[in-house]
Symmetry: C2
């Protein structure tokens, strides 16, 4: 039984409300029941949500927590004044002081994604996703010159989801290349990568964790055995050291954390735009 | 020349600070220069950033705007008191009132991603990404029974990035299947989809836009011609109507907006968890 119900009410997708709300809620040991209500962009729609929130308060005997990102003034004011809830209004709290600081009125646009489908930034993101897909798992060495970063590491060290995340969220053209036993025997990174060593970034992982992940795919195989995982990882780390490729361990990191670290190390210019 | 410099200072990846900050900044017509400073988790690191912020204020003759998500009290207090800047502190503003509401102290954990790599939710997301990759562009009909949603539409209507976004952000197993001229001639959706019609969701797109996108790939081809794009789209929409498949137009929508709409329509339970 969750401790409290949380509503995310937005006039757009609600992604901003939810991301922000989750970062706040993560500070508490309580369990929350999440309810998302996107596209609430009129007073009428707000009214329906208010009734739902108040019914929840009554039923549960506890006020819900409500994160809102709604710019329609009437809808917003109704939610703030008519809800039996703890309402967290990110716009009123932060947009209004910023109007004073900047000396301009906000244009109260709806959501950060409005018209985004036409923007250059958005087009770049889509193009980066296509690039990363075409260059997943060493599928293609064509156009590697255009890659922003090339992730290298043993099979199942987290290269694919990280590449896709870099592309999707940051518009980074991220290729990825597996390091395989043949590379270790030859004692060199795949030859197609040699001209692009400066763009390579390594991922490594604890052997125990790797063996566990590989066993889910191919239970009991040599590929998944702890002994083989230890060997591959040791060889991969040795190679990355020898080739002076920066690397990190993905074992205790989410793809978001890995991506941020890579950006900071390999494309620090992307931290400023 | 941008109107103002904005710093995103965080003890984690800074994703929360930036997402939230951008939603606030989008309300203003001004141009901003973005500077990201992730992993600021000590008073020492905070000091370096404070000096950078104050140097910027001096150089530009305008106070920077600073969005912070930092839970370390000493680092946070220093930034708030020593910066010549408009500081927006999401934690102090919202976490503290919530402590009162819930009647518990927050545990001041660092970031929403801490330990996430071990959580079930995270594992589900990674598994969903693998599923969506394996079921991209009709590559495989195996395990379609496990799909949460199957996106259908003509080539280049936005299925692939939407599938990956649904997987990455929502842990949704999203397959996607192209509708091709052979399907239109036969007058039926691909036979492997027939048992799963209830899970299908269609994407359509304006013919002008589709022709433009396809021309970037294969300039001057029949595939990219406006006439052919019109034909394919008309046939695809006819098919979706006949098969009672919900659909939307991706033309003016970002993948985030498309994904939210799909979740609401096909997996409304995913709006509550």
């Amino acid at each position: 039984m969750p401790d409290r119900t949380v509503f995310f009410v937005s006039d757009g997708t609600g992604i901003t409300a939810e991301t922000f709300g989750n970062s706040i809620l993560a500070q508490f040991p309580a369990k929350f029941r999440h309810v998302r209500r996107p596209f609430i962009d009129s007073a009428d729609k707000a009214q329906t949500v208010i009734e739902e929130i108040n019914a929840t308060a009554m039923q549960e005997g506890k006020r819900p927590i409500v994160f809102i990102t709604v710019v329609n003034d009437e809808a917003r004011t109704r939610i703030e004044t008519q809800c039996n809830a703890q309402v967290m209004d990110m716009f009123r709290t932060f947009v209004e002081p910023l109007e004073t600081e900047l000396g301009v009125k906000s244009n109260h646009r709806v959501g950060r994604f409005s018209d985004v489908a036409k923007s250059q930034e958005y087009t770049d993101r889509i193009e980066a996703i296509n690039f990363s897909l075409a260059h997943d798992d060493g599928q293609s060495s064509r156009n590697l010159a255009q890659a922003d970063v090339i992730l290298v590491g043993v099979s199942r060290s987290g290269k694919t989801p990280t590449s896709l995340y870099l592309a999707m969220q940051h518009g980074i053209k991220a290729a990825n290349y597996p390091l395989i036993p043949e590379d270790f025997e030859r004692g060199a990174i795949p030859s197609s990568l040699a001209p692009y060593k400066r763009k390579c970034f390594g991922l490594t992982i604890d052997a125990d964790r790797l063996s566990q992940i590989r066993n889910e795919r191919r239970p009991g195989s040599k590929y998944a055995s702890l002994l083989n995982c230890r060997y591959e990882i040791a060889e991969a780390e040795k190679m990355m050291k020898r080739e002076s490729i920066s690397w990190l361990s993905s074992t205790h990191k989410s793809i978001e954390e890995i991506a941020t670290t890579i950006l900071r190390d390999i494309r620090p210019d992307r931290l400023i735009y």
